[in-house]
Symmetry: C2
Subunit: 196 residues, 2 copies
């Protein structure tokens, strides 16, 4: 199952924290696909998160996220700045496809942004998170800042658009798209019933 | 619990079909609140459903609705025209507050639009649905077309906006807003845990 996520996306936070254990329970292998919502939103004429552009929806989202995180037992500290540009982290993840530490790094970035209000746009924060996992931060940072990584994120974002992805998190099982943290279990069930 | 719905709204269809039985199972009394999304969308600068304005999201919604209706055992026939103006039906429902036939009429209107592709904007279709329930269609139609009913729907829509409602279906329990058919059970659980 493909897991499409964006580090700036609020509902991607609980999905990212839950998905590895949930997929394991269903016996489903995961393909981690970070992408960038910016160009997808820009196509709608949006220059900001819809949760900022639509204040009533934004107020609702923060309360709903709070209730859902409480239900999952996940900490939530509303970021003092939203959305935060998570492209550096996304480019490091794309370069780390197949690495055993990838899921832990993804969770560390989400936790920093949504449970600790740390600025994940800052290189120093990303270095801290990599070193907290015992990883070679200088090499990974250089790789994440390379032209090649920028092109890889742009290509992955273009692929998301071709697949019909319009928001995050999204899950793809065969030809079926599921959108939203609240569709994670539906997507896994679909995989078990149809793809297995 | 307040149930805010709009006859044009796709995800309001499964919510409307499910809510009376689900609320009864939870021992929760329902307050049926039809409203009109038009002015709420217009405030966002939208002159159409976001599912039409955003094609990728619209394609997803129809497939997601299909999967969810199948899961609920509800028939779905994609309407040949979307959205359909459901204001006449909404005004009849507002005038019928407390009537024992209200839930059945709401379901009949949704079924006509989303399972039979009937034009619920047409007075003749509304008359048929009322008569199918053995109701005095001429009197109810006259009441639904009155200035008083138009004012009542406008007032109820303004109240929805004041309560933070930005989409349909929405459920309100105390100060808590829940949005979407997929939050119906959460709203009922919240009522049982906090309001009861």
């Amino acid at each position: 199952m493909q897991f499409w996520f964006e580090f700036a996306s609020t509902y991607s936070y609980p999905a990212a924290m839950r998905i590895e254990a949930a997929a394991a329970r269903h016996g489903v292998a995961l393909d981690w696909r970070p992408f960038w919502l910016g160009p997808i939103f820009a196509e709608q004429g949006w220059n900001d998160s819809p949760f900022n552009l639509q204040p009533a929806k934004g107020r609702y989202m923060w309360r709903d996220l709070e209730r859902r995180c409480a239900g999952y037992g996940l900490p939530l500290l509303r970021p003092s700045r939203f959305p935060r540009n998570g492209r550096l982290a996304a480019r490091i993840v794309i370069g780390a496809a197949g690495e055993p530490w990838l899921p832990a790094f993804v969770r560390a970035v989400y936790h920093a942004n949504f449970a600790e209000d740390r600025n994940i746009t800052d290189r120093g924060v990303i270095v801290d998170l990599l070193e907290g996992l015992g990883l070679p931060s200088a090499a990974l940072l250089a790789s994440g800042e390379s032209e090649r990584a920028k092109e890889a994120l742009a290509a992955q974002t273009a692929q998301a658009q071709r697949l019909g992805v319009f928001g995050a998190p999204s899950f793809i099982v065969g030809d079926e798209l599921f959108w939203g943290d609240d569709r994670l279990e539906d997507a896994l069930d679909w995989h078990v019933r149809h793809a297995a």
